[in-house]
């Protein structure tokens, strides 16, 4: 692995991990086209046979501000970002100023700021780290081609493509697809590709600069041999994955109010509405979105809304309403750092306890968290099934990291999901036999009573927001209040017994596998998007023979409420050390675990600066917890 191969320059005793990763970072102002270069190169690499992990950082601005798009790739499964990169492409001088030290020794910096003079300290850095700086006269080339500045992105992508030693035709095909509907631009784009390649060729001809005017040679960027398995994979963001999952689950109506990082889901579903035939409403606020979805689910459709923390605060009263109506609903809560507006375009796991506790009164709900593009798809049908089976609200947690990371994703298996609607009555004969009091019958042993839909030819009932008796008539008697509360809360017990325990991930023959019967010496515990980086970091630690403790495992919580702790308690008892890994200040899962079973996980790795865990960073943090000998 590159982290240690890099360190190996200084310490040859360190074993090199079999996984080789390479990373490229494109930096510039928001709106300069960073994303389009990133997406083109990512798709190209994936089609060439590489697993790509794309990560974006950007400020809350439409244009301007410093933004980046990083691609980490390998011929093996890769699910994290490094802090240090092999190639830096800087679209403006801010990149040269701010990101120079993101480069690894031997790295390359490519930029188009002609005449840029690196300050002495930077020059020294370039020299000692053997970094090659290449400036491309982008403006001149574009002027010669009579092309608009935006086309520079394709030219730069082509240069990168050439530097990676990749096939020009693959890139041409890709750009062709992208501009299929803009024929007039296609030709110019192709010219830009040629220019990017020929510039690279010219540079490459200078083997050894003899005079100081000669440009330096471009070092070869050696990618590991490609693996064709990745070619047919999808490149999806977590938002796209979740959108596809929702459509797969049978969601027919989406209502939402724009709020990062939930907005990409709104856009994705909106952009496909003509294909899916879905009803889409951009609501006037999050309360409206939640109410529209509540009404649509009450009527019997599958409907979805998504928001971030602030919007979810506004939805909480509606969540409480759904609790007493026993109305199945699904809310996506895409986390970002708070409080208040906080860090709008950054990531966090700070809303777990809110998701579990928000909204007045006591009622049953389910909280689950997706961790990547696989979960984001698979868990949408699961969430709707749980909502309908238990007649509860299900809150699906995601975060900015998942919402916007570009994942290399195996095409989805669509045979797994089934439609489970629980005690929903639709059969004409059964409908005719229903009595109004069946709807909220407090005698239901599992707390779940029969449900049928408005418009069904049957006895009617009231979905009553006041405390009510079995048919929805307001009933404030002590006996009824107790009975109905107990009925609704029984569902939580029923649900808890049905939910799966967290999954134990262990390394087996160099491969990750879920091994729920195993035991480990070092147990990491986490949830959500940290899983990806934890797995990559543990893989790194596992393969490093210098470290004595080989039996590392990760316990991943998908279902966070009601919380199951049996497996955790058993594993923690046997493990020499348990470590909590979360992206919040309090260690919220830890708080919850202690609340539910008394287990206190004292070792914590917590991050709350808006950035996700980077793999090299996490390796060091875990190593420090394990008191492994330091390197160099």
């Amino acid at each position: 692995m590159i982290i240690y191969s890099q360190l190996a320059i200084h310490n040859s005793q360190i074993a090199i991990h079999p996984m080789t990763r390479i990373s490229l970072k494109i930096v510039g102002a928001s709106g300069q086209g960073i994303n389009s270069i990133g997406e083109i190169v990512a798709k190209g690499l994936k089609r060439a046979g590489y697993c790509v992990f794309g990560y974006r950082e950007y400020p809350s601005l439409i244009k301007g501000g410093h933004a980046s798009y990083q691609l980490d790739c390998s011929n093996e499964r890769i699910r994290s970002t490094e802090t240090q990169v092999n190639v830096l492409l800087a679209l403006n001088h801010h990149g040269l100023e701010h990101n120079l030290r993101d480069l690894k020794p031997g790295g390359i910096i490519v930029h188009d700021t002609l005449g840029w003079k690196f300050p002495p300290a930077d020059k020294e850095f370039l020299h000692t780290h053997q970094i090659t700086a290449i400036s491309i006269p982008l403006e001149d080339i574009l002027k010669r081609l009579q092309a608009k500045p935006i086309l520079g992105n394709v030219l730069l992508a082509a240069f990168l493509w050439a530097a990676l030693g990749q096939d020009k035709e693959v890139l041409k095909a890709l750009v062709g697809e992208r501009f299929a509907k803009k024929k007039n631009l296609l030709e110019l784009n192709m010219k830009c590709i040629e220019e990017g390649f020929s510039f690279h060729r010219e540079m490459g001809q200078v083997e050894k600069p003899k005079t100081k005017n000669q440009k330096p040679v471009i070092p070869r960027l050696s990618l590991p041999p490609p693996d064709p398995v990745w070619k047919d994979h999808l490149l999806v963001t977590g938002s796209q994955a979740m959108g596809l999952g929702a459509m797969h689950a049978g969601v027919r109506l989406y209502a939402g109010y724009p709020m990062t990082p939930s907005s990409p889901l709104l856009s994705f579903i909106a952009d496909l509405q003509n294909e899916t035939g879905m009803v889409l409403k951009q609501a006037e606020d999050e309360i409206t979105a939640a109410q529209i979805v509540t009404g649509a689910m009450f009527m019997g459709a599958r409907a979805l809304t998504a928001t971030s923390g602030g919007g979810f605060d506004l939805m909480s009263e509606t969540l409480s309403l759904n609790g007493i109506l026993e109305n199945p609903t699904v809310f996506v809560l895409a986390q970002r750092p708070g409080p208040a507006t906080g860090l709008p375009t950054w990531t966090a796991q700070g809303d777990l306890l809110m998701a579990i506790h928000t909204a007045h009164g006591e009622f049953a709900r389910c909280v689950l968290a997706v961790s990547d593009s696989q979960d984001a798809f698979d868990l949408m049908p699961v969430a709707f099934n749980l909502a309908e089976q238990y007649q509860i609200s299900v809150i699906v947690l995601t975060d900015k990291q998942i919402a916007e990371v570009l994942y290399t994703q195996t095409p989805y298996d669509q045979t797994k999901a089934t439609l489970e609607r629980g005690k929903l009555v639709t059969d004409t004969k059964r409908l005719a036999a229903l009595k109004s009091v069946d709807r909220y019958d407090p005698a239901a042993q599992d707390g779940i009573s029969l449900r049928w839909l408005p418009g069904s030819n049957a006895a009617t009932y009231c979905g009553q927001g006041d405390e009510h008796n079995a048919d929805g008539t307001v009933d404030e008697t002590a006996k009824n209040a107790k009975e109905q509360m107990e009925k609704r809360m029984r569902k939580l017990e029923t649900l808890k017994s049905a939910l799966p325990e967290p999954e134990l991930w262990r390394m087996d023959n160099g491969q990750w596998k879920i091994d729920n019967d195993g035991s480990v010496d070092v147990l990491l515990v986490g949830w959500g998007s940290t899983k990806d980086t934890v797995l990559d970091a543990l893989q790194e630690l596992h393969h490093n023979s210098q470290f004595a403790i080989r039996n590392l495992g990760y316990l991943h919580y998908t279902y966070l409420w009601p919380l199951k702790t049996d497996r955790l308690e058993a594993l923690a008892k046997k493990a020499k050390k348990s470590i909590l890994v979360e992206q919040n200040y309090q260690g919220q899962l830890g708080v919850l675990i202690r609340q539910e079973c008394g287990l206190e996980i004292n070792e914590k790795i917590l991050k709350y600066d808006g950035r996700p865990f980077f793999v090299d960073e996490l390796v060091e943090l875990i190593r420090a917890k394990l008191q492994f000998p330091t390197i160099d």
Partner: protein, 299 residues
Amino acid sequence: MPISLDTTGPGPSMKDYHCQTQCTWCDACGDYGVWTAIKRALVELKLAPWQVLLCYDVGCHGNMSDKLLGYRAHGLHGRVLPFAAGAKLANMQVPVIAFGGDGASFSEGVGHLVHAIRSNYPITFILHNNANYGLTLGQASALTWQDQPMNASPNGIPEHTLQSMEFVFALEPTFVARGFSGNIPQLTEIFKAAILHQKHGFAFVDVLQACPTYNHFATHEYFLEHCYDVNAEGHDPTNLERGRAIAIDTSKRISTGILYEREDVPSFYDRLVPRKNVTTTCVEEVSIKDVSALWGDLV
């Protein structure tokens, strides 16, 4: 199941909507009139209780939710409109009627009212307008007159009274009517028209009603003296300018009846491009879908 709004043929009776729960409103409350008229209107439209969804806001009027039959929802204060809109968009075959008070509709839920009218959702909204918050014991609403001592406003309200009809007309509604809870036959006709308007969009019905406990100005007697039937006087509801003028000016007489209606503006649902030529409802379309055709661009 499709439900026809056809009014011919045998249908339900008032008894079908009857419910055992006893009314809890004050004597002479205007809610009794609305309660009777809505049942009457549904019966005359030949709609059985199982064919409709009645959605209630929170307030005295919301206590109607368990005083009649039909599929009903009694939700949160101020939020009845988006709930009703969501329900309707999910199943366009079911007539959806939303009820709300002036307190909720012009304060806590005023944003929803604005967007419901401009969205032209295919639902009916019946405003129980007694110009105060009755259930919380007589505080001023946005529609309470100035200079009236109210609970929590012993000196009267310092704010302007919101001119509700000017407000509503500014939002380019497609149906505006006003009724009086003491004139049940007329109210029934208005409700019927407002329910039938669902095929064109959002119907706004302002029902002036007495609050014998807290509103000592606009009493039942006051309404009896001041209300007149515009349609009986030959008002043409397609005349926007005239409709608006008689809706707003209540200085001498109060216009009731169908003040304004247009049928040429498509409803929110009818404007949805993806739903053009779709004959099924969202409710009927729930199933596990093959989405592989949608990820083609992502490979």
